[in-house]
């Protein structure tokens, strides 16, 4: 009974958060609704019996990525920021206008319809059965035996991403002001 309630509640959070995320015009609010959406995804994992994955999702996404995104939004001007080039180059506004919303909703509806029809047909064919999902002990064992290569490569990837991000974001120390080529 409890997993069903958790699943329904998290489905509500995912759908509502997604709709609000795409309809708001404020980047900061968009990040907050992304947080709501990701919390719903963590609830889905918990209802599917993968507690370890749910906790990892909360720690990594909500504790890490969304906070990082909020910092990036604040460092790049926030909602008051309006580029001085918009008028000159006649660009679409930063959060989209009518034509981009039209394009995006057409693409989204086509993908949603296609994928949901495909999954419906697929689930009809497959033999469904509630399988036993491994707990954290078995996952840890499998990470260090069967999936050892991927585990080590992921540690290299994270190290490379860390060093690369630090080097890319380092402020440049040039004395002369660079002319903007616009």
């Amino acid at each position: 009974m409890l997993p069903e309630i958790v699943l329904l509640f998290s489905a509500f959070m995912v759908f509502l958060g997604g709709i609000l995320l795409i309809s708001t015009k404020n980047l900061m609010h968009s990040c907050i609704f992304l947080l709501m959406c990701l919390f719903g995804v963590a609830g889905v994992y918990a209802s599917l019996g993968a507690e370890f994955l749910a906790v990892t999702q909360i720690i990594v996404y909500i504790g890490g990525i969304v906070i990082l995104m909020l910092f990036a939004v604040m460092l790049t001007g926030g909602k008051e920021f309006i580029s001085r080039l918009h008028k000159v180059l006649n660009l679409a506004p930063l959060m989209g206008d009518k034509s981009t919303y039209m394009k995006g909703s057409i693409v989204g509806l086509i993908i949603f319809g296609g994928l949901s029809a495909f999954f419906y047909q697929l689930l009809k064919v497959l033999p469904l059965k509630e399988q036993q999902v491994s707990d954290y002990k078995i996952i840890g064992h499998s990470l260090l035996t069967d999936n050892l290569l991927a585990f080590e490569l992921s540690s290299f990837l994270l190290l490379g991403a860390l060093i690369g991000a630090a080097i890319i974001a380092k402020p440049e120390k040039v004395s002369e002001s660079k002319p903007t080529d616009i």
Binding site: M69, G104, S142
Partner: protein, 102 residues
Amino acid sequence: MFEKAYLCLLMASFLFALGFAVIFIRKSIIAILIGLELLLNAAAITFMTFNRYVVGKSDGQVFSLFIIMVAAAEAAVVLAIVIRLFQTKESIHVDEMSELKN
């Protein structure tokens, strides 16, 4: 059981379509990164659902863990690039990043 599995997969397809729509609609790099995270989450939910209802054991769960790890690494690098671009060009609009176009 069919309903529960189909609800999970419906959520995954909703998140995937939403991610694509966000990438098409927004013109800000950070908003496009949000769309990318939604796409990765849709893939992870699909792995976990099929792990629960078809395959069993731990394989899909490990795949979802690696997807979360890749998403974290990619978000860090993309946000560093965004901050760097804002220092040099004072903008996060994708259409203004056109040095390599011609």
